[in-house]
């Protein structure tokens, strides 16, 4: 699994962090998404997919 994010699109809802805190974080200054792990391990795959589903800005892309 490979994860990419679009910080321009991000609206800082924080839902990716709530879904997968080991993979996503937020910038201190404006809450915009920061990617912690571009290749998350298999055990986090479901959480990462959940993050992509609930992102309101469609700012998370996943390639398998």
């Amino acid at each position: 699994m490979r994860v990419t994010i679009d910080q321009e699109k991000c609206v800082a809802s924080g839902q990716c962090v709530t879904s997968a805190a080991d993979v996503f974080d937020q910038r201190d200054e404006d809450g915009v998404v920061v990617l912690l792990n571009e290749h998350p391990p298999a055990e986090l795959a479901a959480d990462v997919r959940q993050a992509a589903v609930v992102c309101p800005a469609l700012a998370i892309q996943i390639e398998d």
């Binding site: 609206v11 809802s13 809450g31």
Partner: protein, 407 residues
């Protein structure tokens, strides 16, 4: 042979908003659910005779709300306004603006709502909740849960976050109520809005001189840097103050009533110490109750396709997320309240760039409340019949005006 009609006859177009059924206070209006069964895209008639499209299904609702070719700007042609537009008075903060200006302003206030910052507030919120429950238990009963608990919790929290003195709560709660009451006249709404903007403007002025560790003080830095006008700062303050207490307060009171009417669900929540089940209950109650029942409203800027049909630039869209959250295509047995289901993909906070800024705060407050109130008062019950409880049918945010409880 006559030509095929392209849409319903004007007389067949139902009026919007619609009325909930008597005895079903937690369900969307039956006529609205009927529109969803009719098809993905129907038409409704508004107070001004206009006939915007109604986007009835969950998947289409998400697609439309995430589409940059639809606008939240009330002054765009076709925007389905819920009430007459007041010239110059309608753009409260950035919720009725489009990008890039919307994004520029929103990003000025997103930092305090980040997940880690909100988590750091959890123990303070727990103390507030416990203190209010102590007071209720020590006082007379029955008691109005709205006045004694549901409204103070989020009001205290948002005041602290913004830097607004809680001692002014009567003033800002009264004016907020007027702004979100559907039946308020445009003049009443305008006066309430001016009252709040003037109040926030004076607070911003004080914080320009004496900044503290709060959100409004943070905005004064932007004013000093020339990135924000004082008027915009005051309007953002009004928006966050209203959104910060009215919505969560309604979820606390209406959520409690819904749980009291579903004792099996209440028992599950009361008897658990699993934070995951508590979080799941919050998502399910957000989905099931969906308190923002006015429909998200948008104007179409360029021709777009929705559910196989072209919608023209200049047409209006109403996106009733309350029935999106009851769409059987997205949730199994959607009319059942089931706190163990995975409801995290609900659209109670909307979708797209305007999705609720304070959702992480709301979730945390509701998790603390739902995991504490019923555990500490296990015999909590209604002190009046369900049909005696006044529901906010006339509010743009749904809930109960009063909830008399005893134990």
């Amino acid at each position: 042979m006559t030509s095929t009609p392209t849409g319903p006859e004007p007389a067949e177009i139902p009026e919007y908003p619609m009325t909930r059924a008597a005895g079903c206070p937690f369900d969307p209006p039956p006529d609205l659910l009927a529109e969803q069964r009719k098809g993905p895209l129907t038409k409704v008639r508004l107070w001004d005779g206009s006939t915007p499209w109604l986007v009835t299904r969950y998947a289409d609702q998400r697609t439309v709300l995430a589409d940059r070719r639809v606008s939240s700007d009330v002054e765009r042609p076709g925007y389905p306004s819920p009430a007459p537009i007041q010239p110059g008075g309608s753009k409260i903060g950035f919720i009725l603006m489009d990008d890039p200006e919307h994004a520029r302003l929103r990003r000025m206030v997103t930092a305090p709502f980040a997940v880690k910052r909100i988590e750091a507030m959890r123990s303070a919120v727990q103390k507030i909740v416990d203190g209010l429950i102590d007071d209720m238990l020590a006082g007379p009963k029955p008691v109005d849960l709205v006045e004694s608990f549901a409204l103070p919790v989020p009001s205290l929290v948002i005041c602290d976050l913004l830097g607004v003195p809680y001692s002014d709560h009567d003033f800002f709660q009264d004016n907020s109520k007027t702004i979100i009451r559907r039946t308020a006249t445009p003049e009443q709404r305008m006066t309430a809005s001016k009252n709040l903007t003037g109040y926030l403007d004076r607070l911003v002025d004080e914080k320009l001189d004496r900044p503290a560790e709060d959100l409004l003080s943070g905005l004064t830095e932007r004013i000093k840097a020339g990135e924000l006008t004082r008027q915009d700062a005051a309007q953002m303050g009004v928006l966050l103050l209203i959104a910060g207490h009215e919505t969560t307060a309604n979820m606390i009171a209406l959520g409690t009533l819904a749980l009291l009417e579903h004792p099996d669900q209440l028992a599950l929540l009361r008897d658990t110490d699993d934070p995951k089940l508590v979080a799941s209950a919050v998502e399910e109650l957000l989905r099931y109750l969906h308190i923002t029942h006015n429909g998200r409203r948008r104007a179409v800027l360029e021709d777009i396709e929705v559910a196989g049909q072209t919608i023209r630039a200049g047409e209006g869209l109403i996106v009733p997320n309350d029935i999106g959250n009851r769409d059987p295509g997205a949730f199994e047995e959607p009319d059942q309240l089931d706190i163990r289901r995975d409801a995290r993909h609900h659209v109670a906070f909307g979708f797209g760039v305007h999705q609720c800024l304070g959702q992480t705060l709301a979730r945390m407050e509701l998790q603390v409340v739902y995991s504490t109130l019923y555990r500490r008062i296990p015999t909590l019950k209604r002190a009046t019949d369900l049909d005696q409880i006044p529901f906010k049918h006339d509010g743009s945010v749904y809930g109960v005006y009063e909830l008399p409880v005893t134990w």
